[in-house]
Amino acid sequence: MFRLTLFYVVLLGLALVPLHPKSASVTIGSKLFTESVILGECVRLLCDDAGIDTTHYRELGGTRILFDALVSGDISVYPEYSGTIREEIFRGELETDELIHAALTERGIGLAGPLGFNNTYAMAMLRTRAAELGVTTISDLARHPDLKCGFSNEFMERQDGWPGMREYYDLGQLSTKGLNHDLAYRQLQLGQIDVIDAYATDAKIAALDLVLLEDDRNYFPRYDAVVLYRVDLADQHPDLLRLLQSLEGGIDNAEMVRANALVEMDGKNESEAAAMILDETLGIQPEVHQESLSDRLFVRSLEHIDLIRRSLIPAILIGIPLGVLATLFPSCGRMILGAAGIIQTIPALAMLVLLMPLMSAFGQASVGTGSATAVTALFLYALLPIVQGTHTGLKSIPLPLQHSMESLGLPLNYRLLHIDLPLAGASILAGVKTSTVLTVGFATLGALIGAGGYGQPIMTGIRLNSTALILEGAIPAAIMAVVSQLCFDLVERSYSTTSGRRT
């Protein structure tokens, strides 16, 4: 019993010892697209320059995740758009800017900006074609009914997209078709279509030499870039507020388009793009240090192993007793196994979003590197194979052996420890192995909420359509899965050749 307790305490200690104590005073978040990451980097470089300690959780996902994290205090700053605040965060229920400001203040959140550019929907044409036809505004389109438009499917369907716009500008006679966004750019270049929808700061606008038609009758809502921050943080760092305000109005659409193009077209990273913006708007030349591939791999491996360690060890410590309970009490066993089974079917993103508010409620970091949300999700996913392995192992001990161990007159806990569990060992080990391999793979999904590890380059790679970056995460993850599998195979082999361990 003493040894078991020791085993538990040591393993639990291994699971809970924090790897990197949190020290940064300002945490910046950014969304899962290039522009947001660049703006996040702008804030980080500004803070660095002013000597404020920061961490930047990149590519945290969507509005919901970031805003909740800001309200709960897991991040302190993130870039947002006025239209998103109005339409998504407050669901269009607040009419005026004053009401929106009041609602934000009520949640302890301040707003700096606008930064200068307006990343709204826009109509784009090749500069040459537009000049040839003399089209500069959306109203001008009505004078050219033979123009062909290719719009993204989303834009075709949104009420505030094409259907609304057609009516508002009376463009009923234009011919339109819905198509994939990348395809639309290609067909525009080839002259097969004349007008496409685009985001106003899309990197391709500069690269393909497009012009945006002026929304002369103000149909599209404004998506002015702003920065949301926690008021309490600004109180602690009066400098920070001053820094954020120094960005106001400085970044125009052309500047942002160039910065986006630097990353998406020229293969530069977001820090370099952010440095360019700061240099050109504020004349600040921040230091951008490049991490080497081996540095990146090292840090990510640590983060990845950390996620696995903190989720898998508790899953083993709790999963095995749950498996024992499930065997001792078959009716409660059905419930345990059923619940663990249902957990497996919850999609990763849904699981993470469901867990976030719960983690915040318990005062844990809900997003960011090694966040409790990611660890808890991995823990829950890892449970089923271990519980099932234990349950199956115990159930499949042959009846004569069960009678034999019962007939010795040993109390249940002693029996379990010295006979039942070792006999079920192979099956339990198989369960732990499955869980480990699963967790190595699943841990990459933690990157959806900025948990770090090998998932991070995969997310960036998907965003930038870069196979090299995807492989930078996928290959080490695959290697780690294979290596852990091999280790378990070795343990399994030694287990079966000695017929088990000696007590």
């Binding site: 004569p400 009678h403 034999s404 161990m405 019962e406 007159g409 002693y414 010295h418 361990r501």
Partner: protein
């Protein structure tokens, strides 16, 4: 045969185990029906019967591995139900059909497991195992093998050693020689008979072999269709069979060539 202790039982010793009107059903099938028997200390009993007649079931009831559907079981005059089940089981040495050694433990660890739980000092455990190994003529190097590396006869002896480890006064042996070749079986039977007598234990040996019963036991109990059909010496089985079934049971075994 009689649920109340007969007077002659007092001459041989006091009653250790008593089963009265015990019945056992598995679902709707009746395995034991009004089974009544008493067992006295320092005596060796053979429990005979056809395969499936309920011999193992009786031992399992005595170990409380099963609960009876009806009737009463007494151990040292105390109802089994009212006893601490772990103490009951530790007071009885039980060797089950097939041995029941744990494959993940060496023979020595198998034998010592309960003593370790009871926190016997290691020296005492070692001495006791040495003593038993000598009793069973087991060479010492076999003790550190795992069960899969033991022959059937060796494993059977190890199981007996495990049952004897705590020196219980009751031994329940369920077909202890079932898996052995005739010669090994014969040798072991010859060795064990004087051993049991010397140890002065109540031994109940389950078997369907009359020959084995005659070598090992003082008294035999023949079971048929869930009840006792005859109880007494094997000589009495031959000379005055109680029913036609007893007659056939005896004849069938004599008819086997070389089966004596």
């Amino acid at each position: 045969m009689n649920s109340t202790p007969p007077t002659d039982s007092l001459e041989q010793g006091s009653v250790k185990f008593e089963l009265s009107h015990v019945s056992k059903f598995f679902g709707a099938t009746c395995v034991l029906n009004d089974f009544t028997a008493s067992f006295q200390e320092s005596r060796i009993y053979a429990l005979l019967g056809l395969s499936g007649s309920g011999k193992s079931t009786i031992l399992r009831l005595m170990m409380r591995l099963l609960e009876p559907s009806g009737g009463q079981l007494l151990f040292r005059g105390q109802s089994l139900q009212s006893m601490d089940v772990l103490q009951l089981r530790r007071a009885i040495g039980y060797v089950l059909q097939g041995g029941g050694l744990f494959p993940h433990l060496s023979a020595r660890d198998n034998i010592a497991i309960v003593a370790r739980y009871l926190k016997w000092p290691p020296a005492k455990i070692r001495d006791r195992i040495d003593e038993l190994a000598e009793l069973m003529s087991i060479p010492h190097e076999l003790l550190d093998r795992f069960p899969h590396a033991l022959s059937g006869g060796q494993a059977q002896r190890m199981s007996l050693m495990r049952a004897l480890m705590l020196d219980p006064d009751v031994l329940l042996l369920d077909e202890p020689f079932g898996a052995l070749d005739p010669i090994t079986r014969h040798d072991l039977q010859q060795e064990l008979r004087p051993l049991f007598t010397r140890l002065g234990k109540l031994v109940i040996v389950v078997t369907h072999d009359l020959n084995e019963a005659s070598i090992l036991s003082d008294e035999a109990i023949l079971l048929h269709q869930g009840t006792v059909v005859q109880r007494g010496t094997l000589e009495a089985f031959r000379t005055s069979p109680a029913t036609e079934f007893v007659e056939r049971f005896v004849e069938a075994q004599q008819a086997i060539p070389g089966g004596r």
